[in-house]
Symmetry: C2
Subunit: 553 residues, 2 copies
């Protein structure tokens, strides 16, 4: 609300009305024409949400004024004069449904018994430790010593009183030797010894050497994606090929950067694999429209789709990127969440192709990202991750280094957790047996829950869902009756949003509508994690679904 | 280097040459004219560094080609086609001198005895725990339990074996109750109970209520600054008043955002206080040039200056910001590092002014930032911080919430450390005595070292330095002989850069030249922390200085 509007009504009265959600009507009542001498904002119709466009009040330029204020006082920060690219960004994973689910959780914790469920299930976000997943003991024991190195003066208490094994103590000493203190900034790209551990892990994983100086620690993979997209975005014409459906970090960041998202559809009929013809045609179309396409994003295993790419698919993407001189951004944060077949890293496949075809793929530019957030580690609250660069120009690397320097460094305790993830206890180590048991227990639990959920979906009317392959998600297709679509339209919602909102209200289960990730016109989906323990919540979904279908049939 | 250039020379030979630092000459030899059909990049002459401009090879458009490649193959990512705003950003704190100091440290650790010093002193960066500052025991004991909650099953061992007090255990339980696990994502703006603790701290500090829902946890204050500047930057004309000298986070981020930095000079003759006339005239000048000035940044206590503002100074800035409808961004990360007088928070002073002048300052928009990185906490590696918003429009707050959601949440263990900082043990609590002793020990040590360093500067020829007032830095003026300036020019360096480079090479002491922060034309400074223990390193500086002055007199 404008300063003038406030003066007229009195601030405390306005605060009351705002608290009561009556803000918009107040604006309609009192908003004086803006006198800011700037052209009105032109929102990008492609990625501005319905909600935001409803909110925008038109900006009037140089028109007569109702209230006596000076022009500069009208400049107060408001939704119409902030960064239009931030305004336009959408991020559904933490959007309206997530906010609503938190409200319901708060209602329940205040003792509200009027809801048809007694707890909220956050199946909207891959947050393993919010649900059933326990942290791995070895990791957390080491971290406890890093946080309180004074404990290392009492080794006998650690070992005999607390059951810490000697390898826990050794690893803590190793990390402290190289970090100094986890409370000190590290080098901008991370602690060098940790980068060496990552390089050794990559060598074991891929069978090819890795260079620690090309590895950058980051605050989760998200921060790495943010860095790389910042570097790539030369102008609004700079384009990035992004899979649809996709994790909305990509479209949101490209929106903030005012660069161009070039969507390409994944093939639902091929278990959500990459479809090279679809990639090629999106690329050609974008180029013909003057877009300077410079990068292709691949999420493997897929989010939200759960797909796990074959080696042939990976090869095809690398070959295409090489031909078209595209940077490959391989988001591989789910690399250990694979249920069918095995994970094929872009780095490993690229090195093989380079070996098989000397010279042919030497110029391929690849950034591959990983994180402690997912997999059996599941430590997303620690914000640890890294990316490895292959084939990047040295001056571009220097610019990346400078960019990460501005934010100083990734959280150091998160860096240490990356070290533990890539260098876990080995057979024969004192902590191995427990580590192995915990790790496999989590892996098996995820597989079982994925299969149980998949089985439930198979039996639901109008729901189709491929076999679980990888990551932490299922992304079923839902076919809704026309009456449900009409009811959604009457509420001003997309049909999948409408379905997910009703599901949340009826069951307390929060999932994300497919429209938050992108989906082919005319198709509807939702994404659910399979992290929540037990099967009771699954039966809540099937029961709701049957009632929903009956109601709108 | 272009793909074609690589093909001509052979990749392995190029790698050798690049490793030998011969990259630039290779580019000069082989670079084919670019065929990218875009206008050449026009760097902003105001913030493009000398070094980078030397590196830029001109981009030729549509000219004839020497090598047979297709146009799109020339698009490989290089320094000339990355994001020009990232390229233009400068960040001196971790620039050339810092890199050189790390090289020297590596030389020493490899046993090199040919250097005139046996260890490097990193006085270039406020990194307390890299140097002498020990973490506070209470904080780290709690964090160790958060990282390994299994320890809470063995309270007797904790208490009798490890000396943990009961308040440590209680606090860990409180935080775990509200976080769930520190390995889980929190709400995007932080754990609500932690925001409540911060609000109570602000109430105690300022004597006025604070609203937890207006508090956003961030990954250090830097991430908060990044968020707020993102929101403010509507267009390249959006301007932010930034003090000069300043912490280069501000100019670097504005550069990345392609927004306008409106510098205003601090008054060295008034102990680097704010000079309202200087602010006003910078503001007027920018407005007259069409800049849409929307924010004023204040760093109090000052970085790099060490200034601590009087209440009158804070009042004057608030009054000015109110008149000109500017958002106030108060960077108050050094609020506990005050040696002279006391800290006056912008929030507290604003609330007083609102109380004294009903209605007059109700529309002031203030964002104040704090962090666990500095002060007696000194936990910068944990990347914890927060900002509080006052007077912001609800829709703007929603945009801020959405923006921070894209990066998911601040590191949860860092959020817990914020809680500990704002809610430390109180008199009567079991951990209070040790906490108090450690806290005061650090505070006194900083004060003593600041005074010792100041005393040394006072005795150095051509060096002037005000009494230490606050933060972790001194920022002396240096007056160098003309011969030194000529020698600097011959090396293509600014005189203060030249001085700092010679200081590093002769003594191993790394400081940052004033030009990295901005300084008035014709003046020279450097910034040094006073974190390093002992006085031996100070005498290294005085000895070097005398020899430098003698050499160039």
């Amino acid at each position: 609300m404008s300063r003038a509007g406030r003066a007229l009504l009195g601030a405390s009265r306005i605060a009351d009305l705002e608290a009561a959600g009556l803000r918009r009507s107040l604006v309609a009542f009192s908003a004086p024409p803006s006198t800011r001498l700037q052209p009105p904002h032109q929102p990008n119709p492609n990625n501005l949400s319905r909600r935001l466009s409803l909110r925008h009040t038109p900006r009037l330029v140089n028109s007569s004024r109702t209230f006596a204020t000076t022009a500069d006082k009208m400049g107060r920060l408001n939704i119409n004069n902030i960064n239009p690219h931030v305004r336009a960004a959408e991020y559904a994973v933490r959007g309206e449904l997530a906010v609503k689910s938190e409200e319901l959780r708060a209602q329940l914790s205040k003792g509200d018994t009027g809801l048809p469920f007694d707890h909220v299930i956050s199946a909207n976000i891959g947050n393993p430790q919010q649900l059933d997943q326990k942290p791995i003991t070895f990791f957390r024991q080491v971290l406890s010593l890093l946080e309180n190195p004074q404990l290392l003066d009492k080794e006998d208490v650690l070992i005999n009183g607390l059951g810490y094994k000697t390898d826990v103590i050794e690893r803590a000493k190793f990390l402290l030797k190289h970090c100094g203190s986890v409370g000190a900034y590290s080098a901008s790209s991370g602690v060098y010894a940790i980068k060496e551990s990552i390089a050794k892990f990559l060598e074991r994983r891929d069978g090819f050497p890795a260079d620690p100086s090309k590895i950058y620690l980051s605050a989760g993979a998200s921060s790495g994606v943010n860095t790389l997209l910042h570097i790539l975005a030369e102008s609004p014409k700079s384009g990035v090929l992004v899979p649809i459906p996709q994790y909305p970090l990509y479209t949101a960041t490209l929106s903030v950067l005012n660069a161009t998202c070039v969507p390409y559809y994944l093939d639902e009929h091929k278990a959500w694999g990459t479809d090279l013809e679809a990639i090629r045609s999106s690329h050609e179309k974008a180029k013909s429209e003057g877009v300077d396409v410079r990068c292709i994003v691949i999420i493997n295993p897929g989010n939200p789709t759960g797909a796990s790419l074959s080696e042939a698919d990976v090869r095809a993407v690398i070959d295409f990127a090489s031909q078209e001189q595209l940077v490959i951004m391989a988001d591989e944060v789910y690399q250990t969440n694979v249920f069918i077949g095995q994970f094929h890293s872009f780095k490993g496949v690229l090195r093989k192709m380079q070996q098989e075809n000397p010279g042919k793929y030497d110029d391929v530019e690849l950034a591959s990202l990983h994180s402690v957030s997912k997999g059996m580690v599941g430590e997303c609250g620690h914000r640890g991750g890294y990316f490895e660069l292959v084939g990047f120009d040295a001056e571009v690397e220097a610019a990346i280094y400078k960019f990460v320097s501005i934010m100083l460094c990734a959280p150091v305790i998160g860096q240490c957790l990356v070290e533990l993830m890539v260098n876990p206890p080995q057979p024969g180590d004192p902590s191995f047996e427990l580590y192995d048991k915990e790790y496999n227990g989590i892996a098996n639990g995820l597989r079982e829950r994925a299969n149980a959920l998949h089985k439930a979906f198979e039996q639901m009317e109008g729901v189709e869902c491929g076999e679980p392959q990888g990551s932490m998600y299922l992304f079923p297709t839902i076919t809704l009756p026309q009456k449900a679509k009409d009811a959604a339209a009457a509420e001003g919602r997309k049909p999948d949003e409408f379905y997910c909102m009703r599901l949340l209200e009826a069951t307390g289960v929060c999932v994300v509508p497919g429209s938050g990730f992108g989906q082919k016109e005319g198709t509807l989906h939702f994404r659910t994690t399979f992290l929540a323990p037990g099967t009771e919540w699954v039966s809540r979904i099937t029961k709701f679904h049957q009632e929903f279908m009956d109601k709108y049939r």
